[in-house]
Subunit: 310 residues, 2 copies
Amino acid sequence: MRATAQLIRRIDDGDSGVFAELALLYRHAGRAHVIGFTGSPGVGKSTLVDRVVSRFRQDERTVGILAVDPTSPFTGGAILGDRIRMQKHFLDEGVFIRSMATRGKFGGLTRSTADAIVVLDAMGKDVIIVETVGVGQDEVDIVHNAHTTVLVTIPGMGDEIQAIKAGLMEIGDLFVVNKADREGAAKTLRELRFLLQMSSDRYEASGWTPPIIDTVASADQGVDELYRAILDHHHYLLEHGRERLMERDKMRARNQILDLLKENLMERTLERLGGVQALDGVVEEIVAKTKDPYGASSELVERILGGAVN
Amino acid sequence: MRATAQLIRRIDDGDSGVFAELALLYRHAGRAHVIGFTGSPGVGKSTLVDRVVSRFRQDERTVGILAVDPTSPFTGGAILGDRIRMQKHFLDEGVFIRSMATRGKFGGLTRSTADAIVVLDAMGKDVIIVETVGVGQDEVDIVHNAHTTVLVTIPGMGDEIQAIKAGLMEIGDLFVVNKADREGAAKTLRELRFLLQMSSDRYEASGWTPPIIDTVASADQGVDELYRAILDHHHYLLEHGRERLMERDKMRARNQILDLLKENLMERTLERLGGVQALDGVVEEIVAKTKDPYGASSELVERILGGAVN
């Protein structure tokens, strides 16, 4: 437990010395069910996660929670009530909670989250929940690490539906309309259903049509349905979606190797140039407009990769 | 106008052939006032931007708008009413509107947005407005390109205030509470004022204390105040904040060179390895757990940078 916490802290700090340990742990990973929860601030993701975690604990599953969300009570950033509510999990030995805050030096939150998943997975957590905020590319990338992605919205966020339409539709395995006792819930459910219908061919081909679940997490309404839908999706992946599971694992591996390559290359390059401060001179010249960033970057790359560059 | 559009499209497509043109344009850039608008979906950023653009046009300033936001009507993703409302700007020769959608191959939205700013700046736009969504790291990075950053929120988003507290406070030069005719506006204004007070020492030292402006953009209320505050901040940067302006330009140059380095290194490395498909074998081995991503990445870097790597 303590070793896990330390390792994840070092990952979050961008300590590249952890790679050797991660390499060893990697061989023991691959058993956990990784679940992503994403949605805008204020949609109640954390309350939902809290409730779902309780269900997993009732079924004696161990859980790791990674909160990549500045508004999450897991990160300690939220209002007191939320934090108190979370304490029951903080005191539970079967639940490991960690926030991912800073990005690695050149790797980013996506990579450090992927690494933290490896750690929790290798440590034997049955379920790993990654909570992210928003609709940005970072979230999409982080969610690519999940086997099951839950998209959470609330009634009356027309713009949010547009965002889902624009970019997040494809990554959602389950859709939740939380705070469904609010005005406009029926309309939001209708809009989501319509969006899903437009992709029905694709869903039929895959064998999984995302359910739309309405919940009132604060009153524990709809949480059992959500929990069952999450288990159903996991079951689908294991039984009927082996290929899809494999695809996701491959996508994750590809992203991970690209991110690591990027980070390694930058680290070694800056080492060779003499550290980040070696860029100070170039930055001055760019600001003074005696150089432009595009030419300057090419020059630096030539210096590193040498004449053999084609 | 057409050349600009083509160039920005090529940037958005991740075409690295544009670098030579960007290098030339860069020397002509540096005059424009770059303004960032950021906030969650549904806070009304686009309506605010629309109103502010009208003010700039009344003062005969030319404007470039970059929408890095899947929910923005500028991207064509939003409801019909918004799109119709925007048409007056679409037909205005003095306004150039472009959405930034895809990320470059290895560079990301941050770099392509920085490049598009260079283009619009060199083309002589007086003002460049970058509209981003959400509270993720991508947004923070994109906003680092702006001289003036406007953070938009609405009443009743307690979690959003937490997000601002957690990560966005430092980047806001102006705070807007839009839809201020809604319940809870006074409370949100109070919370923001309290947050700003906590940083008052820092603000006094810098000579600029972020104003908090309440608006009802849809009814054009408070927009004049916002417009004047934006001009005030620009004036502050030009007259009293030269150092700060320089700092921002340096930060932008540093981010740009780091992003370009990363992208160039990756591109050349993958070229040398024989293209992205050269990674397929490695990905298979990682998924089969005969390799781990950490060791595999080190091996690849060794192959590229050779024995001289320390």
